[in-house]
């Protein structure tokens, strides 16, 4: 009787471990792409540096703020 109980507990343990492993692999898979190379972050960093080096001004604010006032 006792050995039968032990067998069931062991089975539960293994099932739990397997569940943990599957979940970890699934979650890890989502993250791996990011760890490999963060293309979007690299693009953002590149844009920031290029704007500085070439002195490209963010005139979107100035244009939207000035033009309507000048037109009126």
């Amino acid at each position: 009787m006792q050995s039968l109980n032990k067998g069931i507990v062991m089975k539960d343990r293994i099932a739990g471990l397997l569940a943990a492993l599957v979940c970890a692999l699934a979650l890890g898979g989502c993250v791996t792409i990011n760890i490999y190379f963060p293309a979007a972050a690299a693009e953002k960093a590149a844009d920031k540096i290029i704007d500085e080096v070439w002195q490209i001004k963010k005139d979107a604010d100035a244009a939207s703020g000035d033009k309507p006032a000048a037109a009126r």
Partner: protein
């Protein structure tokens, strides 16, 4: 009993997942003294390079560098200076790509960072400037 074991399993998985997610960065680190120095050096050089871009004497290469593509667009007396400017700029660019990779603890990313920059330099360049298309021929933007 069974439910407890399952719960424990899910909890362990969540913890592992969160630890993994924390490693993935939303932004690249670019605020280091080395990167700032290279940026300043390139910014200062750009006042001399701007005219060469506009005349088509130099162009943006597909590999994230610049090159003297039409030496005849530069007066003979200034050709040597143009060559030195191109060489210095490419040295800074290579150092910049390497430093960004290093600042993020991933030296192996240098090539991909260079490729990203190559695209963005061309994307942000001004109309009239020359760049190399993927097959290597010069195109006027």
């Amino acid at each position: 009993m069974r439910a407890t074991v399952w719960l424990r399993g899910v909890l362990v998985a969540l913890m592992l997942g969160v630890a993994g997610a924390a490693l993935a960065q939303a932004n690249l680190e670019i605020n280091t003294p080395a990167i700032a120095g290279l940026q300043a050096s390139m910014q200062a050089r750009h006042t001399q390079l701007a005219g060469l871009y506009a005349s088509g004497a130099i162009g943006l290469t597909r590999d994230g560098n610049i090159a003297l593509r039409d030496a005849n667009a530069v007066p003979l007396a200034q050709r040597q200076q143009a060559n030195s400017l191109v060489a210095a700029e490419n040295q800074d660019r290579t150092a910049l790509y390497r430093e960004i990779a290093r600042a993020n603890g991933k030296p192996e990313w240098e090539g991909e960072i260079r490729a990203t920059f190559a695209q963005r330099w061309i994307e942000k360049s001004q109309p009239g400037w020359y760049y190399q298309n993927p097959s290597g021929s010069w195109v006027r933007k």
